[in-house]
């Protein structure tokens, strides 16, 4: 990445920061699905039900639209698209805090599997299952794990291939059938596949801050797993999955911020106080205009990350670090402004603003905090700490 003249380097090729016609067509399909079945009011109503996900919505998104297989090559049962298309799905999912395991299963778990030897049946079979949307898989790491930060100490693999240990706060663990578990094995790091229903696996639920993305603690007590990759291959597969997850999380954050801004503009233009629409007061207009500018920049940063991941650019780690460090705080600010500028109604359970605040704040911690990503960036652009 470094060309010797500038320590920050320059991208190899100009990134394409726009949306293609195919991407817009995909967006239209996903948006119409969410409008029909996943509007914020529907999400709100389903929040306290027993199931982890909205199964009908997930089936429609994953299977009917085929979104679960976007990142999987056609010969392995997927759609052969790229991170650019997956990012569009996530923007729409963020726009309605959809309670579906798209990021965890169709992006992170799928990317981890794609990083293993795809010629082996042990890899190809679960990949096809996840791509078809019939099965949900998750990478068994704490949801706060940044790229490069997967702990290899939490779970140990014995010589007989059984796993022991505990992983806390795994996103979407409750609804997952397949667990991809990074472990410390007798010969170094490895990645195992474990059936969630297998003997020796316990999923304990946690009450999450973000009710639309359930968290679970996973306990492995002599559970039998299948070795997917070991050594450097395993490490790269896990890192690649976390990098893709963090990079595309920025698109979800963009969607969250967009909904919050649009809804706040709509509400303040209608709500009257002191004999005027409150949206005509300069103090409020300036806040919304400043937020709009941040959202426009978040869109550019998120698109840049998606394009770098899609083209497998050497710039991807930098693009992802910038996107996460920038987009996470923008989503939080947008959600906070949304609650504040809605006044009292923004504090009520019946208005969906709180869903977006909870998602935005949890997303800020997810896959590396902005501080962790800035730290990564410092290394990438040669701005060393004191």
């Amino acid at each position: 990445m470094n060309d010797g003249t500038s320590p920050a380097g320059t991208p190899a090729a100009d990134p394409d920061l726009l949306y293609s016609a195919d991407e817009e067509a995909l967006r239209a399909a996903v948006r119409s699905l969410f409008a029909d079945r996943g509007a914020p009011a529907t999400v709100l109503a389903g929040l306290e039900s027993a199931s982890a996900h909205d199964a009908g919505l997930w089936r429609a998104l994953a299977t009917d639209i085929g979104a679960a297989g976007l990142l999987v090559p056609e010969k392995l049962g997927g759609a052969g698209a790229s991170a650019r298309e997956a990012a569009v799905v996530l923007e729409e999912a963020g726009r309605c805090v959809a309670p579906v395991p798209y990021l965890t299963s169709a992006v992170i778990a799928v990317t981890a599997l794609l990083g293993c030897d795809r010629g082996r049946e042990e890899v190809a079979a679960p990949l096809a299952a996840l791509a078809g949307g019939g099965s949900v898989g998750v990478l068994a790491v704490p949801w706060t794990t940044a790229p490069g930060g997967a702990s290899e100490g939490a779970v140990r693999a014995g010589a007989d291939g059984t796993l022991t240990g505990r992983v806390t706060s795994v996103a979407d663990a409750a609804g997952a059938a397949l667990l991809l578990v990074p472990v410390r094995g007798p010969d170094g790091p490895a990645l195992y596949a474990v059936e969630a229903a297998a003997d020796g696996v316990r999923t304990g639920s946690v009450t999450p801050l973000d009710l639309t993305r359930p968290l679970g603690h996973l306990t492995f007590d002599g559970a039998r797993g299948t070795l997917l990759a070991s050594g450097e291959r395993a490490r790269t597969a896990v890192d690649g999955a976390l990098l893709a997850g963090a990079g595309l999380l920025a698109s979800e954050q963009l969607g969250v911020a967009e909904w919050c801004l649009a809804e706040t503009v709509r509400y303040t233009a209608e709500r009257t106080q002191f004999g005027r629409p409150v949206g005509s007061f300069q103090a409020l207009k300036h806040r919304m205009a400043a937020l709009w500018l941040e959202v426009a920049s978040a869109r550019a940063a998120a698109r840049n990350a998606a394009d770098a991941l899609a083209t497998d650019s050497p710039d991807a780690p930098l693009a992802v670090a910038v996107a996460q460090a920038y987009c996470a705080p923008v989503a939080v600010r947008a959600a906070q402004e949304c609650v504040q500028l809605h006044g009292g109604i923004g504090m009520t359970w019946e208005h969906p603003a709180h869903l977006f605040l909870k998602r935005a704040k949890s997303d800020e911690l997810a896959l590396g905090s902005p501080g962790r990503h800035r730290e990564a960036l410092a290394g990438l652009v040669a701005l060393d700490a004191p």
Binding site: P7, A8, P11, Q282, K285, A300, A378, A382, D384
Partner: protein
Amino acid sequence: MTDAEDLRRRTAELLAAHPPAATQRLDFLRARFDAGLAWVHFPEGLGGLDAPRSLQAVVDAELAAAGAPDNDPGRIGIGLGMAAPTLLRFGTDEQKRRLLRPLWTGEEVWCQLFSEPGAGSDLAALATRAVRDGGDEAGSGGDWIIDGQKVWTSSAHLARWAILIARTDPGLPKHRGISYFICDMTDPGVEVRPLRQITGEAEFNEVFLTGVRIPDSRRLGAVGEGWKVAQTTLMNERVAIGGSRIPREGGMIGVAAADWRARPELRTHDLHQRLLTLWVEAEAARLTGERLRQQLSQGQPGPEGSGMKLAFARLAQEISGWEVEFLAEDGLTYDDWTMRRPDGVDFTGREAGYRYLRAKGNSIEGGTSEVLLNIVAERVLGLPPEPRTDKDVAWKDLPR
């Protein structure tokens, strides 16, 4: 349709006929203009080839690689960025033929006589008068006599021409009684005085206009329609301020990052955190500008342009403020308080203290950040306007 291949061929022909090493700078620039390679998106005969605007980059790259001279855009930015697009849209054929070529080559410098001491952000409140002397009933011919004072005028001391807005009908509401003129800065009655500013130098001027006579043939747009013409100029000004293409770590953040790398003994954890945050914001702003350019080149102009100047101003102020603080004892010193008369603005040259002080103007010049936020809120987000008391009142009846 002119494509990239065609432009490469034309550029090669220009270079073959006028080898940069053996050609006078001005001769080369004139030849480039005549070959239609100045602004490729302008019409043929006026410096362009009616080609897509995005292809200018192809020509610029080829000429830079061949070591060809440029037209010093930093020095003639007002002509290039503001006067030229306005002339192109509203000028007569004769005005365009006479004025565009020396504007582009830099033989004739332009300045902008818009702002007034009593009308800054409320530009349409301007008081400079233009009174008709002669002319026919239908409203053309004759001369205009201009009286008033302008301020914040960059390059006025170098300029041959100015774009000028003045009030032609004080009986109309303030936006409607304004007309737009081209003023010859060498005419009697034009007096330019340097205006020394916060940095110690005099980058700007005050311009006093006393009985200046402008022929009606140098009016742009219809009488009373000057505000509409000025919108074109102002829109282009904001794009020019916020829209130049920069590489990663280009501009001020590059200077700050270079400081950090060069002075390890000054590093603190707090400054490190803040530098990284600014670095991320500068990169996000750069990508936003890049995305805007990609939209424009696909014919989908986005509203992001109105926001880029806001981001640029805020970042320039924060980064330069960071730099002064990082430099510790060196940050207490200033390079030179001598009153200079610079040809253009240099945002990355000179020392941090200068950059810090100069950047304070970024959120004022070309529209204050507060006014731009109103514009974004009302025109982009569609929020309701503030109640106004000046809308349908004749300018002469407004409180001043």
